[in-house]
Structures are given as C-alpha cells and as structure tokens.
Symmetry: C2
C-alpha cells in the first residue's frame, strides 16, 4: 500500500508547491473520470500523485539514475517529454513503485501512445483537464471526456497536435501514433 504521507515532502521539495498542487488536482480529476469504470483507484491515486515527480529535476535524476546519458550527451535536456519518461524511473527507484501499469501511466502521460490502458488514458486526460487548467477549449474537452473517455482522448490529442503545430514544435511519433490508433479504432484507417 502506498503511503503518500511518506513521500509528500520529497515530492513537494522536488517540484515546488505550484506543481504539487497541480498533482493533487490531477488525482481529483482522475478519480472523477474513473467513476463507473473498471480501474484500480489506488493505482489512479498513485499515478496521478507521482506523474510529474521528475519535473524540473531532470538533471538531478539523470545524474542519479542514468548518468551515462549526461556523460554521452545523448539526451535532449530541453525535451518536454523527458520528465515523463524519467518520472517513470524516479517513481520506481525513488518512490518504490513496482507496478508496471502505474509506471506506464507516468511514462506516457505527456505523449500518449498506441493502445493505452484505461489507467494511462485517465491520467493523460486528468493532466490536461484538471480544474486548474483554463486554456481555450478546456471546458468543451471536459464535457467530451465525461461523456465518452475515448472521444475525450482523441479530442485531447488533436488539441495537443494543433497546439504544437502552431508553436512550430516537434510532435513526438508517440503522439501521432496514439491519435492514429484511435482513428483506426473508431473510423477504420482510410
């Protein structure tokens, strides 16, 4: 059983109050999206709480857990998805989470991926839809997600892709593949 009180100080010290409070709101939103769904609520709480555990601490945790990436300069320290992948490692090695589903939900919470588990979908959506978010379109996205989770996921992915297109930012393969997978499921490929 994960005793959050043992880890609150570490997380708060690492990611700061603003991001910590965001994580608490993600837990709330994730639990809310979980209603009526066959998902392990304990896993939802843990994944929501720890999803950003590596944020702002990429250098510190890479040095600790994967020093070879820094030595070889093989990693893009400015990548917006680094914290998610590193977060899965941090959750495992620092917070002692061994559950694969939880670790994957943390790992893919920024990009999404093909054929996401229900837990992954809930955490991905909760991150984007938690009640502190106020970007244009978020209310509509919440409505869609509560009505149908997969529709919400597809809408969220489309929204993210459009945002990255406007910013002239790189769009990870995982994100396109996540979206294409849902399109194939829903509409067939053509």
């Amino acid at each position: 059983m994960f005793d959050r009180s043992l880890y609150e100080k570490t997380l708060l010290d690492d990611i700061g109050e603003k991001r910590f409070n965001h994580s608490l709101r993600v837990v709330d939103k994730a639990l809310s999206l979980s209603k009526g769904k066959d998902v392990d609520l304990e896993k939802v709480k843990i994944a929501g709480f720890l999803h950003d555990c590596a944020k702002y601490n990429e250098k510190k945790y890479l040095t600790l857990l994967r020093p070879e990436f820094i030595e070889n300069s093989t990693i893009d320290m400015k990548s917006p998805i680094l914290h998610a992948f590193l977060g899965a490692e941090v959750a495992e090695k620092v917070y002692n989470i061994k559950d694969r589903e939880i670790l994957d939900a943390i790992r893919y919470h920024t990009t999404g991926r093909e054929n996401m588990s229900l837990l992954e979908k809930i955490i991905f959506l909760a991150d984007g839809l938690e009640e502190g978010r106020s970007y244009p379109g978020v209310k509509k996205l919440r409505e869609i997600a509560y009505d149908d989770l997969d529709c919400g996921l597809l809408s969220m992915l489309d929204h993210n892709i459009k945002f990255l297109l406007e910013k002239n930012a790189y769009i990870e393969d995982l994100t396109f593949k996540a979206r294409n997978y849902l399109i194939k499921e829903k509409y067939g490929k053509s």
Copy 2:
C-alpha cells in the same frame, strides 16, 4: 528523352480530362517554383505530368502489376495515398521511366517524407499550389513557397495535417515524419 506526345492519350484515357488538366497545371507550377533553383527541368516536367498516373485506376494497375495485393486483400483500396505509391510503379512499368528521383517524386507526392529531394519538394508543393486550387489559405501558401521553398513545404504539411485532423482522418507516418524533419532542421528538436 521523354516524349510526352506518346503518352498523352494513355494518361488522358486513364485519369480523365479534369485530372489531366490538373497534371498540366502541376507541371506549370512546378516549373515556376523551379526558377533559380538547381533542379533538372526535364525531370520536373515528367514528374509533374505523371504524378497522378495511377489515380482512379488503382484496381486496374494493381491487377496488372501487383496482383498478389488484391489476391491477399493486403491493401487498403480506399487509401488516399495508394495512387501515389502505385503511380511510381505505373510510371516505371507503363511509361518506362527509370529515373529514381522522378519515381520518388511521384511516390511521395501525397505524403511527403523525411529529407525530401528538391524535385520531391517541388512536385509536392506544385500539386497543392497549382493555379486551379482555390481552398482557403492557398494564396498565402503560394506566397510562402515562392519566398522560401522549405518554409512553403512546412506550411503545406501543417496545412494538410490540420485538414486531416478536422476530417478525423488517418495521418500517415510519412507525413508527420516529413514535418518533424523540417522542424528539426529549422528549429532544433525541442
């Protein structure tokens, strides 16, 4: 030397007058985009002329050239990119084009791909920007392409991706890899 007059009837019979005229306009636009650039104009004319040579004739040419795909039902006959890939085969086997650059320009004229040759970029853009096109935004795209071909290419890819997002259509890997490649070249990856 490619003698177009030998092939005009075949192409016109296959793809019809409307699409034939589109192909002539693509040649014009491609030549126009080629001004001041180090590209083989003969190749530009051939690739522009033949880029849609398999359109509307996918079943006929698959039966002729790749019957195994039909027998095994391994191909999506409704795919919007089939005509491009098949077109490269038709250009080679029916129109006797052996030049690899021309065949690739035909093959990738719908999706684009990573690290396109100058000829591929010109044909891709000419197809989207020929003077018969009148979709919202085309004038701006033409301006950008004439000013800077790679900027035009990126803008065209973004435009296509947005269009496919709105249509809830599958976005080919080749297309988002084409875009990401340009983003990396222009802005770096993050």
